[in-house]
């Protein structure tokens, strides 16, 4: 499990451990594929090193949106809406809060649907 300086981290690598900011807010879960956007977010939070699991994420069967869970899938969709705003920690906090809220609603809706069926 190599720990790399952020400058050496490339998009496509898989994160070995979760990355959190100084307020202990989760920035990216362990096992997730690192994207250019996540590298930008880490930089904006002053993260210097991260633990990576492997090279290109395609090798990892557990990788990708399907395995990432509802909240992260929503967050990825949101990421496109926030665009360059994600260089700002405050915008990242807004995106993450929105992602969690939307995921909670979807989960609730799904649960209600299950009960009905």
């Amino acid at each position: 499990m190599p720990i790399l300086n952020l400058d050496d981290v490339k998009a496509g690598m898989t994160l070995a451990e979760a990355v959190r900011n100084h307020q202990d807010q989760l920035l990216l879960e362990g096992g997730r594929r690192i994207t250019e956007k996540s590298i930008r977010i880490f930089k904006s939070w002053g993260i210097r090193r991260v633990a990576v699991k492997s090279g290109p994420a395609g090798d990892d069967p557990g990788d990708g949106v399907a395995a990432a869970g509802l909240a992260t899938a929503i967050e990825e969709g949101l990421g496109a809406r926030f665009g360059d705003g994600l260089t700002d920690p405050l915008m990242v906090a807004i995106m993450q809060a929105a992602g969690r809220q939307l995921a909670a609603r979807q989960k609730k809706k799904k649960k209600t649907g299950d009960v009905r069926s």
């Binding site: 809406r81 700002d88 405050l90 906090a93 807004i94 809060a97 929105a98 809220q101 939307l102």
Partner: protein, 282 residues
């Protein structure tokens, strides 16, 4: 855009509808110190649609009164003259710009949802800040994009080009408007509210919701609407014509003195209230 085109554009936008007679009479009455709740009630009850909307709203979670409010006079006594004027005004405004096409109606509905989300967000932020005029914030949120409604109704071809440009260029709608119209929906909204002689505070909030610190004495209220707009877009409530989330103005955030930890409870309240109030206002 040539000078002649610009003049034609302004002429089309300036040919704006007037407010419904009932709302105008209510506005006059609110400013009349001799007017009583019963006088105001008489005017509202003459209009069945306004009566139904008012009673639905005072019985919705927006106010959360423990008991059902059954009469217009009761509603006036409970929420006050100004609140009645503003709420009736805002629920009437969207009817003034009917769209003729199915696509136009769909866009308007999406914008209505976005505006309602922003209104609920402004109120939720106001609650955290213990702002005294929550209903004013709600109204400002509901009307913040009224300039876009004018564009949809009066400049449909240009509005279509604006949304395409915003989508393809991954840019904010205000930037696409500046490119195509030479002005933004915020400026058009200001023009409309000025024409309707609505309060300066409301007009200023709408005019500067993308640059809140330029709103002078109303910078706090404008910053609240600015943040509510961003949270509404993040929560994907409706559509403001583009799908981009604008950057939060750092000075506005500092002025609000909110903590990032308060953002999620605000968003949760927005999602909770959205369905309920939307059903009551439609």
């Amino acid at each position: 855009m040539s000078e002649a085109d610009l003049k034609r554009l302004i002429a089309r936008v300036e040919d704006l509808p007037t407010l419904p007679r009932t709302v105008l009479r209510i506005t006059e009455m609110v400013n009349d110190p001799r007017a009583s709740a019963r006088d105001l009630s008489r005017i509202i009850t003459d209009d069945q649609v306004l009566t139904a909307r008012l009673l639905k709203l005072v019985n919705s979670s927006f106010y959360g009164f423990p008991q059902r409010v059954a009469t217009v006079t009761g509603a006036i006594v409970l929420i006050g003259f100004d609140a009645i004027r503003n709420l009736l005004l805002t629920t009437s405004v969207f009817d003034l710009f009917p769209s003729r096409t199915v696509k136009g109606r769909r866009l308007q509905e999406a914008l209505w949802d976005h505006s309602l989300g922003c209104a609920i967000g402004a109120k939720a932020i106001g609650e955290v800040l213990r702002h005294e005029k929550l209903e004013e914030l709600f109204v400002a949120g509901l009307l913040h994009d009224i300039g876009k409604i004018v564009e949809m109704a009066r400049l449909p071809d240009e509005f279509e080009r604006i949304t395409v440009r915003a989508r393809e260029g991954r840019m904010l709608i205000a930037a696409a408007e500046t490119e195509i119209l030479g002005c933004t929906h915020a400026e058009i909204g200001r023009l409309l509210l000025d024409r309707w002689k609505l309060p300066v505070k409301l007009m200023t909030t709408i005019a500067f919701h993308h640059a809140p610190l330029a709103a002078g004495g109303f910078a706090l209220e404008t910053s609240i609407v600015h943040l509510a707009d961003i949270l509404t877009r993040a929560l994907q409530l409706g559509s403001g014509g583009d799908d981009q989330v604008p950057m939060l103005d750092t000075s506005a955030w500092e002025l609000l003195r909110l903590k990032t930890s308060s953002l999620e409870p605000i968003m949760s309240a927005m999602l909770d209230e959205f369905g309920d109030i939307s059903a009551f206002l439609r």
